[in-house]
Amino acid sequence: MADKVILRIYRGEPHHQYFEEFEFTNTQNMNILSALMEIQKRPINREGKKTTPVAWECSCLEEVCGTCSMLINGRPRQGCSAIIDTIVKQTNSNVITLAPFTKFPLVKDLIVDRRSMFENLKKVKAWVPVEQMYAQSYGPPIDPVHQQAMYKASTCMTCGCCSEGCPQVNSHSTFMGPAPISQVKLFNLHPVGKTLKPQRLRVMMQEGGVSECGNAQNCHQVCPKKIPLTEAIADVGGQVSKQIFKELFSLPER
């Protein structure tokens, strides 16, 4: 176990970002966030100067909330599940670089504004259009295999790693990224959710939709929940083609 570990943090506000280094003693199973907590308690940088604590966001610390996304040695991931020992061993270096995501507007230090991801969920109508809350009986039975697929897609915590890793998501493009596309697949699978399928697919046909995927397949690599994103993109791409065909020949919705 490396005793002394150095966090090299790219911090600051828009148009004024800089690196600051912090040194701390590593203990067993310490993760990136527990190191940031130590800095918060004693905000002194490696030069021994008092500084302001680093701003970052976290919530559950168990990788189910999606809050603590950041670049750790350049890779988009959750800070809570980034175990320092493991990183030191893998990189053979006791210097770990932290930086905020680059595909979202910077707020401060490691915090970015990911509101656009929730807006995208609105655009693709990622919901089941139930008529009312009251129901006399349960919904139709669902095959367990089918349920497993839906569950997997539904574990997406809107953390933004997939968008950060995607070369097609950038300041020159309107591509909404892989996560909402996977949600389109999910809700198109649901027996009631699929009543909105044509509407969702029309959003997918537009600018920013599924055709802007460049098939780099990074999304699947970086997804902390291992959601089959590339599979979802391929599926939705197929659904879009069928939809275009249907609309071309004015076939009835099915």
Partner: protein
């Protein structure tokens, strides 16, 4: 009349349920949350949600669910709300099924159920081992749909600071703070619903999310005179993974699916059996000692949580902890791979954070602070109360302020049963939404008339406190003070309680309150200043901690999660009552007591050593139980 507006503070299961309900009733909602609502703490609930099923062939019943809940809570919960909640559970499940929550299925496609602690029945529906996340997402989707329709306006990354009341004392809005810009703004509305969750962060490390400071409810307690109830009851979950930053929950479902708790036996050691006080030998040297099964043969590894936590501490106190440390084994290595798959989410968490594969090596776990049974006092008129319709369920003692979910005290008594929290959050949220709408209809006036100057005054108070904190130039660091506070709360105010220890804890808390006056902010910036935000919360965290310790000090008995040295038994004659806590400036909080409504089930001693399934009959069941998912609830 113009469309009415409600401010809902908190966007977890309870807040989203209330929002959904209000939107369905045609109200507008301001939804205020310190985190994007999809990141609320409800996502951490793993195991499942309880509701009686007629598909398991076990002859389970609403009465049994209610009885298990009440008995699990050591008879401290008022029984009418619990009964109605259990009655409504299947309807809540139906709603969740319809909105697309991906519950696990049986081979024939129906909802699968597992068994949880404190019961002998399979009544817990689940989504893998991340049920809370899936339920929250289901409700989040529906609320997003209402948002797209223009019924909901979200204020995420905003923190509740203060309730604003008109001259008649009715709530008419709040002051909130943008947690990035630190700007203070007001929101005007006809009523306010609190769904702000638990307060595990008071204890430093817990299984809670980092924003579960309890500060919002504590602000209401300190600033506005809201009453708290049963604050001394803090659930310690028996199985969590100790970590430097937090204790990560290892769900009860691990035991529900067959996981066993053990330590290596030691024939030379003897200890008191916590079930009956008899001296027993601590297993056999060189063999695994499944001590929960030995102490409680009836329920085994699935005894109620408070009982399991105390048993684990008794075993580690006897020097039997794994590697001589405060930890015991939770073993799922013997389970079929198919069963292990059902636990994938939590087994992955263990592996990710410890580097060991729990499918091959038994997990090392220890109890950790988990759930706040107590909280804001709320009214809950039973169906047969003469004034049922002139009172409002889930309303705090402040007119027009409702509370639902973990921040309020109903439903769980002295100890919560596993998989009842998701149920109580959704049920309480829906009831609060429905009752809040009825309250607004009943007002027959605009609460904003008569609020002249109230908003400006409230905002000015918050601004003054902000300036006060920024101007303090002392040496104390608020994060280090928090560390000290957490330590004293863990040492003296959780599982091991004694009157002398609680007195010491209170002294220490008063010292911390004094030292807090001399903090200095390590960041004086006016943008994304997390140190300031925490320093502001900390004032209220201290007062809440004092309320917890004081209520525990006063209760001279052992009941549920509250176990006190020297008062080892439950004392129904003197203590079958709800603690009601009122803040008093510069004095100890004032504590009084309300009687408990035990109309359905007579208190009996909890006994988990025998597994006896028996029919439970309620003698005078309510003539009518309203269905909470219906538009007509409470009408």
């Amino acid at each position: 009349m113009a469309r009415q507006t409600v401010t809902v503070v908190g966007g977890g299961l309870a807040g989203l349920s209330a929002t959904m309900k209000l939107a369905e009733l045609g109200c507008k909602v301001n939804l205020v949350s310190v985190v994007p609502v999809k990141r609320s703490h409800s996502v951490c609930a793993q195991g499942g949600i309880n509701s009686v099923s007629d598909m398991t062939g076990e002859d389970d019943s609403i009465e049994l669910h209610a009885y298990d809940t009440i008995r699990g809570g050591d008879f401290l919960a008022d029984q009418p709300p619990v009964y109605e909640m259990c009655y409504n559970a299947p309807y809540i499940l139906k709603m969740l099924d319809h909105i697309g929550v991906p519950f696990n299925r049986t081979a024939s496609g129906n909802l699968d159920r597992r068994r949880f602690g404190g019961t002998l029945y399979n009544r817990t529906a689940f989504c893998g081992a991340s049920t809370g996340q899936q339920l929250l997402y289901g409700l989040d989707e529906q609320v997003r749909r209402a948002e797209a329709k223009g019924l909901v306006q979200k204020y995420e990354n905003h923190e509740f600071m203060r309730v604003v009341q008109n001259q008649d004392g009715e709530a008419c809005g709040i002051v909130m703070m943008d947690i990035y810009t630190l700007d203070l703004t007001v929101l005007k509305s006809d009523a306010v619903i609190f769904a702000t969750g638990g307060n595990g962060i008071i204890f430093g490390k817990s299984t809670n999310s980092m924003h579960n400071t309890g500060a919002a409810a504590a602000r209401l307690f300190v600033q506005s005179g809201a009453l708290l109830a049963n604050s001394e009851f803090i659930q310690v979950h028996p199985t969590a993974i100790p970590g430097k930053d937090k204790y990560r929950l290892m769900s009860e479902s691990a035991r529900g699916e067959g996981g066993r708790v053990w330590v290596w036996g030691n024939s030379a050691k003897r200890m008191k059996n916590p079930a009956d006080g008899e001296l027993i030998t601590c297993g056999v040297t060189g063999e695994k000692w499944f001590f929960l099964e030995a102490f409680y043969p009836g329920y085994g590894n699935l005894v109620a949580r408070d009982v399991a936590s105390r048993a684990i501490l008794a075993v580690t106190d006897a020097g039997l902890g794994v590697d001589g440390k405060d930890q015991v084994y939770l073993d799922v290595t013997h389970l079929e791979p198919k069963t292990q798959d059902k636990l994938e989410a939590i087994l992955d968490i263990y592996q990710k954070y410890t580097g060991e594969d729990p499918r091959i090596v038994p997990m090392k776990i220890f109890p950790a602070v988990h759930y706040t049974m107590g909280g804001l006092y709320i009214d809950w008129p039973a169906y047969d109360a003469e004034d049922r319709l002139s009172r409002f369920r889930q309303m705090t003692n402040i007119k027009g302020v409702f509370a639902a979910g973990e921040c309020e005290y109903q439903y769980h008594g002295a100890n919560r049963l596993g998989a009842n929290s998701l149920l109580s959050c959704i049920y309480g949220g829906l009831v609060a939404g429905a009752e809040c709408e009825r309250y607004m209809q009943s007002l027959g006036k605009d609460v904003l008339s008569g609020s002249d100057g109230a908003f400006e005054e409230a905002q000015a108070k918050e601004l003054a406190f902000k300036q006060d904190l920024f101007s303090r130039g002392g040496e104390e660091n608020v994060h280090l003070l928090h560390e000290e506070l957490g330590k004293v709360m863990i040492d003296k105010v959780t599982v091991r309680r004694s009157n002398s220890g609680l007195d010491e804890a209170l002294q220490k808390l008063y010292q911390i309150r004094e030292r807090y006056k001399h903090i200095g902010l390590s960041d004086k910036g006016n943008y994304v200043n997390q140190t300031y935000i925490f320093a502001n919360q900390f004032k209220y965290i201290i007062e809440n901690a004092i309320a917890i310790a004081k209520a525990a000090r006063c209760r001279d008995e052992s009941r549920g999660a509250h176990a006190k040295e020297g008062f080892e038994d439950r004392d129904d004659e003197n203590w079958l009552k709800t603690s009601i806590i009122r803040y008093q400036k510069d004095l100890d909080p004032h504590i009084s007591y309300n009687s408990v409504d035990t109309r359905y089930f007579k208190p009996v001693k909890r006994d988990y050593t025998k597994a006896v399934k028996k029919k439970i009959q309620v003698e005078n069941p309510p003539a009518y139980v309203p269905i909470v998912t219906s538009r007509d609830y409470g009408r």
